[in-house]
Every structure is written in C-alpha cells, then in structure tokens.
Symmetry: C2
Subunit: 342 residues, 2 copies
C-alpha cells in the first residue's frame, strides 16, 4: 500500500533515491526497469528505498490515453473464469476502461513476461484472480506503483493487498442446513484441497450446521477432493463403499458435485431419490445438469465488478473500504435434493 | 481489404483526400474521427475516397509501445467464450501481444463506445467473434485501418473480411454416421436456428449421412432449436411425443444436448440404454455430464489462435492464406451413445 499512502505532492525522484542508496541514477533506473545487470545487494537496497518512499514509476496518465486494466488468471481453463471476466468487463466498460486478459500458467517466466508488457502498455491497475502470482511479483507491481486488487474465491491467507472473496463458511452452513431441513442426518462432504482456506471454511460451516442440529460430525463421512470432477467421482465412490453410506452429499465445488452425480448414475442410483447432492459455485452449466443441481451461488461476476471499482478507487489515490471484503453466498434449490428415502 | 492492399510508400494524405472530395481538411478529419457534425452526403463521399485509397488513420506504431489486440464478443455468457479467449490469449501472449476483451451486447451504443476506446488505445488489430457487429461498424474499422478477423462458429454469409469457422457440415455428417454405425435408423435432429448457416450445414450433413446409409430422411424427426438448453429440452419432448419416436438424437449444440438429456431423465428414460444422444461443440462441461456426452469437437481454442496469427499477419501488411478457413471437427465418443434397445 506504500504507493498509495504517498501524497502526490511529495513524490520522490529517482535522483533522490540514487543519492540515499549511494548509487548512480542509471543503476536505480535499471532496478526500476527490472534489468538483471544489478547486484542483488544493490537491488535490495534500492527496492527498499523505492518501497519506503512509495515511488511511482509512471507519470500521471495523459487524459487522452485510453485507460486499461489488466485481469490476470493463473489459467483460463476453470469454468468460473468467464463469470469473472464478464463481471470485470461490464464494470470496466461502463467506466470507459479496457480489460486486458492474461494467463500466467503458474510459470514465473510467463509472469515476468506479463509484467514487462504490463509496464510497456502502462496499465492503470491489475486485478489478479487467486494469489497464484508469486509474492516477488506482488513486490514488483508495488515498485511499479500499479494498484493491485485480488479476487480470491479460494481464500488465501495473509495477502496485504485489497482482496475480494466469498462467504465460504456461510455457504457451507447453508448447504448443510438445507440437507438437514429435508430430514438427512448422515451427510457426506467431498471437501476442497486443504491448502485453500475456502476448503476449511466450507468444512467448518458444514460441521457448524451439523452441531447446530444436534448431529455429531462423523469424520469418516468427510473425503478429500481437489475441485475437479474426477475427485468428486472418486470421493462419491468412497462414500458409497462405507459400511453405512450417507443419504446426502455436500460437494464443496460444483465440478466435484457433477463428478459425484456421474458416479451415482454409474452405479444405477438416482439423484435425488437415492442420494441428494448439493454443490458450491453455481456455475452456469449446473442449471442444466441431469438433474439441475441444488448449489450455493458464489457471486463471481459481482466479485469481478467490485474488484474493478476498488482498483479504480486506488488509481485515484483513494483507499478501499476494507482490505478484505467477502460477498454473500446464496442457496439455490433445484432438483438434486429431496427428503431421504424412508 | 483496401487498407492492406495499399503499398506503405504510396499512402495518401488527408490533404489529398480533402482536395479530391472538394472539402476542407478539418471536414475529412471529422469523418475520420467519427464526429456527427458532417452531412451524410459529405461523409459518404469522404469515406468512399478513404476506402478507395486505403487510408490508414494511425501512424505506424512506435516499436516501444506494447502491442494490443482487441477480442470482441457480442456477449460473454456463452460457455464457449472461455475456450476462444484461452486460444487467443495463449497465441497473443507468445507473440508478446496483450489481449483486450470486450462485449458489445448487440447494442450499437456499446459498439460505438468500444470503437472510440479502440481508437484511443491504438489497438493493432481486432478479432471479432461472430458477425454481431453491424456492418456500419465493420466499415468504421476499415476506415480506421485496423485489421479485422472474424471468428465465426455460426457461419455467417457474405463477410468480406478474413473469417475462421469450423467444418459444420462434416461434423453433422460424422455425428449421424456414428449413430448409424451403432445400428440406429430413426435418428432425430434438434437443429440450430435457421438464420445461422452453421445450422443448415449441420442439418445437411445429417441428411447426407442418412442418405449415404440408404435411410430416407424423415422431416418429422427434425425439430427446431436455438442452441439454448431450454430448446433442447422442448425439442426432445416433441420427439418423444411422436407416434414413433426416434431411438437416437443428434442435438446440433451441446447445450441443447444437455437439455435433451434432462428431458429424458425427467421421463424416467436412460441415456444411452433408452435413447442415444450426440451433441456438437465439446464444451468442457460435457466431459462430466451424466452420462459424459458423445459429441463433435469444435476446435474453438485453435480457431482463436489462428485468428491471432491471421490478424498479426495483416498488421504486417501480409495477406491471409485464404479469406475463409474452416478448421476440422472431430467425433468424440463418450458414454451417451450405444446400439438401440433390441
């Protein structure tokens, strides 16, 4: 946040940074421009000064130049990608700002190349989806003085940039309460990857709902998944193979729910007659899965739109309302849940 | 193509255009910049001259400026949107070019606003998905001298810009031949909207396969759809209500196929035991529909990548290999097709 905390009138010059670091102006310039011909010690000293003084590399944009935002994904293959792009594009379009979409594929080479082009196109701000960009690149963005906002459906810990997430715990609670209200007592959970906070939040919401209804959580009913359909398929088979299988499933992601539904179909079991299934996300495709899926809606487009408003606020030197905002999740009841077979 | 046909050395100036049109230089400038304070007659005369002389509005890009491509959709809500973005972004990223994604929502106001920002950001080229942009805007792009390539899964008639589509007729043929090879003889078709050439091409491929197998096409087995799941759902019910329903269905779009599968489930019919279903598109989600869908793969990401290579070729003043290219479609066999119940 250093770059935003500096008053525009007091901005430091490269000459002053060079003087304080005891190096030449071209050396500071090399650091600012990401060149490799600077010793690690010198680079660290200069970057520290740049950061402390909130140095902003770029001159104020000329009013005639078209504004651009960068929207950066790790990969463009997740089905919720397009929902976020849609929310970002609509909001940016309304503000007269173009949206540059990139994927860095979790490769630091691609990320560095992206930073280079970001600099060349003088992007006004960056919206990063998930925290996939390594922290050294967060640091480079900070040095460039480009405002950064993270859209983080996964719930990453310890980001010190404005972050927009979803209410994962409340969603896990609502999904499980829905199944309880239908009369289910043995409710399985196909969980998300433990390294993501959203997985833990949804699991905790599931447990809180059970306990709130007087049902003791049974850890044998919780199986691990990784959000991919394959893991929902395998997790569902594991739950069905238990001596006493559940009568309902909460899959902590829609794609895992679809994998579970396919596993049930493969065993000749019907949804919801033989097993109720609740997902999480409300991806567009689950409105027409067979059967249409009961799920928890994550407002991905709204999260993208809020990210645009936040990053545009940062470009004007304003502060975000809150460093971390979680948008509410909603239960959407469709055809994949019913009371247990009596 | 006028803009590309002009030799760089012989480029005409605004002054010369003004002289030939018998108007002032500011008037030509107003036309070039899309201002409204020019009479329709004058505008037509000036635009005709600009076009005939292949006037390129923008100066050659400076080598230091970051290159940008604009990728424009009508809407960002189609499930194949992300496949095209993925193909475009990967290819553009490799070429060091940023991808600006926009949606114009079929509204001419949005399209004009997009043209304005396109001009301001000095985009190097435009990839338009479908021909949704009205032809007057094609014309504006031509006058601006921005190379344009159309990615057109729908098969639009009469575009005079380089266009990349898919082999729709061959896909319809392959889908139907697959069902014939399994032993089906009464094969229903849920067709796409008649206004799109791709719908007709898939229908013709379906008929050609039937005739090639000695089966007389029966028009009562062809029902209309609009590519949305709702229309596949309704179309499937209509086919099931026939006195002699088909034993297999070809839905000319995956989303319609998913709607049909849900209609079958709603009637207690199993896929593929009671009815085989083939889709068209190979959207990512149909790999995990229940059951996983046999379909015709459209190489959407490859179409996007080829569009990038084509538009970059145009920016270098080269000609495309061919004004219209169709990439091949492939049959992908999964679990939704089987021999008819005997």
């Amino acid at each position: 946040m250093a770059a935003q905390e500096t008053d525009a009138g007091s901005r430091i010059t490269i000459t002053e940074i060079a003087r304080q670091a005891g190096v030449s102006v071209p050396t500071v310039s090399r650091v600012v421009n990401g060149r490799s011909d600077v010793s690690p010690q010198t680079r660290a000293r200069v970057e520290d000064l740049l950061r402390r003084h909130g140095y902003r590399r770029r001159p104020a944009s000329s009013p005639s130049r078209a504004a651009l935002l960068d929207l950066v994904f790790n990969d463009l293959d997740s089905p919720w990608t397009v929902e976020i792009i849609r929310g970002v594009e609509e909001e940016a379009h309304t503000a007269g700002v173009g949206t540059v979409v990139s994927a860095v594929h979790g490769r630091s080479g691609d990320a560095r190349e992206w930073i280079r082009t970001l600099r060349a196109r003088a992007s006004d701000g960056v919206i990063l989806v998930t925290s996939a960009l390594e922290s050294s690149l967060h640091e480079e963005l900070r040095i460039l003085g480009v405002p950064l906002v993270v859209v983080d459906p996964g719930g990453s810990p310890g980001l010190d940039v404005p972050t927009i997430g979803a209410a994962n715990w409340s969603g896990g609670l609502a999904a499980t309460q829905h199944l309880l209200s239908l009369g289910h007592r043995r409710i399985g959970l196909i969980a998300g990857p433990p390294r993501l906070l959203c997985s833990r939040a949804r699991l905790d919401g599931y447990r809180a709902a059970l306990e709130g209804a007087g049902v003791t959580p049974d850890d044998t009913l919780v199986v691990p998944g990784d959000f991919r359909p394959e893991s929902g398929h395998a997790g569902c088979h594991a739950l069905l193979d238990l001596p006493e299988p559940p009568t309902a499933l909460f899959a902590a992601g829609d794609q895992m729910a679809l994998g579970a539904v396919e596993a049930l179909r493969g065993r000749g079991l019907r949804v919801p007659q033989d097993m109720s299934v609740v997902g999480f996300d409300d991806l567009p495709e689950v409105r027409w899965s067979a059967p249409p899926l009961t799920t928890i809606r994550q407002p991905l487009a709204d999260m993208g739109a809020l990210a645009v408003r936040t990053v545009l606020r940062l470009t004007r030197g304003e502060q975000p309302d809150s460093p971390r905002v979680e948008l509410g999740t909603d239960l959407v009841v469709r055809a994949s849940t019913a009371p247990p077979a009596s």
